[in-house]
């Protein structure tokens, strides 16, 4: 069911939407916690960037889109992959490098793909996928579908040329794309204000005559509403939008990086954790009388089991056959 069809006035539907959002956020959180464990156990290798703390961004925005809208991400994309509906088993198997992984074990954490679900990948070069997003939107417009493309990237990508080249073209050509900047304040160990002349990412929209919004990324409903507006703009008039979503990562940049240290303090991280988007939504659902604590706990237990099953699936899956090495270099 396309979420966009849910009427905000329909309380029941709204409650169901909120419940689903909470469940998705919990799924991502538990999945990522388990990912960290598996990484420590050596089951996952390479660079591995967790989404913990930023769940509301992926959940709120993807809830506002249709299943046939394109999604494209940076390397920090486990969350979006799960939210878009790739089975947790296929995602975990990919992290394990297994043949059953969503990229056949050849992509890994940074390169999750599911073309059938219009999930166009995680990409490893900062800013590199922003022009790809414009291209996907170009394809949608060219074919006359009313698909939209959403593109997730970190605030540090705003300093790289590809971002600017893509925004300009998207605006000139009126491409149906949502540029969603997850501003978590740091690119690796660098605070944005140390490397950006203007720290309000949304300001850049002026240079491209583009609609923009600044959104609280710890409030899943705010993200949902802003993305709905952006999707409308894109779907109806082919107008791109730049969404700056303020969020925070609760973990280190990747599994090999410290949680805090010279670049940010432990206190700052603790302070931010008080804004945990999951706690916030849980509170609201309790306040609204939609779910009580027991129901929330039940949800959590449910997703926990789902994550355990994913790990089991990944564990039991086989590595790709040696022949896979030379397959898919070229299409025949």
């Amino acid at each position: 069911m396309a979420t966009a069809a849910v009427s905000a006035k329909d309380t029941k539907a709204q409650a169901e939407l909120h419940r689903r959002m909470l469940r998705q956020m919990l799924l991502v959180r538990r999945f990522e916690e388990k990912t960290a464990e598996c990484y420590a156990l050596g089951k996952i290798g390479g660079f591995c960037h967790l989404y913990i703390g930023q769940e509301a961004v992926g959940v709120g925005s993807l809830a506002a889109l249709r299943d046939d809208d394109y999604v494209i991400c940076s390397y920090r994309e486990h969350g979006q992959a799960l939210i878009r509906g790739i089975p947790p088993g296929a995602v975990m198997a990919e992290l394990f490098g297994k043949a059953t992984g969503c990229s056949g074990g050849k992509g890994g954490s940074m390169h999750l793909f599911d073309a059938a679900r219009h999930f166009m990948g995680g990409h490893g070069i900062v800013g590199g996928h922003i022009p790809l997003a414009a291209g996907l939107a170009f394809a949608a417009k060219y074919r006359g579908t009313d698909q939209v493309c959403i593109c997730y990237f970190g605030e540090a990508a705003v300093n790289i040329g590809a971002f600017h080249e893509a925004l300009n073209m998207a605006s000139v050509w009126k491409l149906p794309v949502i540029f969603l900047c997850e501003n978590n304040r740091y690119g690796m160990g660098t605070a944005f204000e140390r490397v950006a002349a203007v720290t309000d990412v949304a300001e850049h929209a002026c240079s491209y005559d583009m609609a923009a919004e600044l959104v609280n990324g710890m409030d899943v409903l705010a993200v949902y509403e802003a993305t709905k507006r952006a999707a409308d703009r894109a779907r109806k008039g082919g107008h791109p939008t730049l969404l700056e979503v303020r969020t925070y990562r609760f973990m280190g940049h990747s599994m090999s990086d410290p949680l805090h240290g010279v670049y940010r303090t432990k206190e700052e991280v603790e302070e931010q954790k008080k804004r945990d988007p999951i706690t916030q939504l849980a509170h609201k659902l309790k306040d609204d009388g939609v779910l009580d604590q027991a129901a929330i706990d039940a949800l959590d237990t449910e997703v926990h089991a789902e994550v355990e099953a994913a790990v089991k699936f990944a564990d039991e899956s086989a590595d790709p056959a040696p022949e896979a090495l030379t397959m898919h270099v070229l299409a025949d």
Partner: protein
């Protein structure tokens, strides 16, 4: 069969493929209103409209990426670089996005995209505008690389490239655009990966491609006057490379000279040498020699530029050396 310039042959290939398949479109700087910096796209905007002939800002990285994204979305983009010199800015998209997408998605996303434009030196364009990138692109798994030398191959290879489900690099030549030749009408496809024996001989194999084919043919003529008979093999495709054709010719001649426009150190000719010495070692009667651009950035001065470039005389001299005539 009509006599066409290389430019018009490319134009015909583009037009025919755009007529045949509505998902083919052309994008690049000046391809539309201006009719192409080198007029390769003349008339296409008028015929296909601005939806399918798209003028871009000067943003090579960006529009190469838009092309890749469009291919992910199922279209068949043809991306024109005004010259390949400017594609240096777009390498991340060509290498990290286009060439790897199929592989890193585990076979899910094919990448039917063509990147094309003039490669190598023209006349006195100076250091930043006179570069030949064969060896760079041929190095990358996931790409195909072709470099047509004649109008017929320009048409046939570009059409094949557009129909290919993989990213294909088409290296054209500014100095070739005005050259003329017979071009078959309509459906004419040159297979990617097949070399073309341009002239048959017995004494030495001269390997070449793109612009160096003409000068190598001249060298072969001069050699003929000196009673040296040369096989002239136009590689046409640099990745994959037609190893069988190379080995077949060298098996006959036992001697080989490789001619290329680019710099010597780790140039594409080194790979040709590698293949030949590896698989025809016992058939070689002399080391394989190479004729390349001088190992310098291209100078502007006309005389220096001439000295820097490969020439028939240099090919003749190398051929005579592998024949131990000098």
């Amino acid at each position: 069969m009509a006599t066409l310039t290389y430019r018009d042959a490319l134009n015909q290939a583009l037009r025919e493929e755009m007529q045949r398949d509505p998902e083919v479109f052309l994008m690049g700087e000046e391809v539309g209103v201006y009719q192409g910096a080198y007029k390769v796209s003349r008339g296409l905007l008028e015929e296909f409209g601005s939806k399918r002939v798209v003028d871009t800002p000067i943003a090579e990285l960006g529009f190469a990426g838009v092309g890749v994204g469009a291919a992910m979305g199922g279209l068949r983009p043809v991306i024109e670089f005004m010259t390949w010199n400017f594609a240096l800015l777009a390498l991340d998209q060509i290498v990290n996005s286009a060439a790897k997408m199929l592989y890193m998605s585990g076979g899910q996303l094919k990448m039917p995209i063509v990147f094309r434009g003039p490669n190598g030196a023209a006349l006195q364009l100076g250091a930043q505008h006179s570069q030949a990138w064969e060896s760079w692109f041929a190095h990358i798994p996931g790409l195909k690389v072709v470099a047509p030398a004649t109008p017929a191959d320009a048409k046939g290879l570009l059409k094949s490239a557009i129909r290919d489900d993989n990213p294909v690099i088409v290296l054209e030549g500014e100095m070739l655009y005005n050259t003329k030749g017979d071009v078959p009408d309509g459906e004419y496809l040159t297979p990617i990966g097949k070399a073309d024996l341009k002239r048959t001989g017995t004494d030495v194999t001269l390997v070449c491609h793109s612009k160096t084919v003409a000068l190598t043919l001249k060298a072969a003529e001069q050699l003929a006057e000196q009673n040296v008979s040369a096989d002239v093999l136009d590689l046409r495709s640099l990745r994959p490379m037609d190893e069988a054709a190379l080995l077949e010719s060298v098996a006959k001649t036992n001697r080989c000279v490789v001619v290329e426009e680019g710099w010597p150190h780790a140039g594409i000719g080194a790979q040709v040498v590698d293949i030949i010495q590896r698989d025809a070692f016992d058939q070689l009667d002399a080391p394989v020699l190479r004729v390349t651009q001088a190992d310098v950035p291209m100078p502007y001065n006309k005389q220096l530029e001439r000295l820097a470039k490969p020439s028939p005389e240099k090919v003749v001299a190398a051929a005579r050396r592998v024949l131990y005539l000098d």
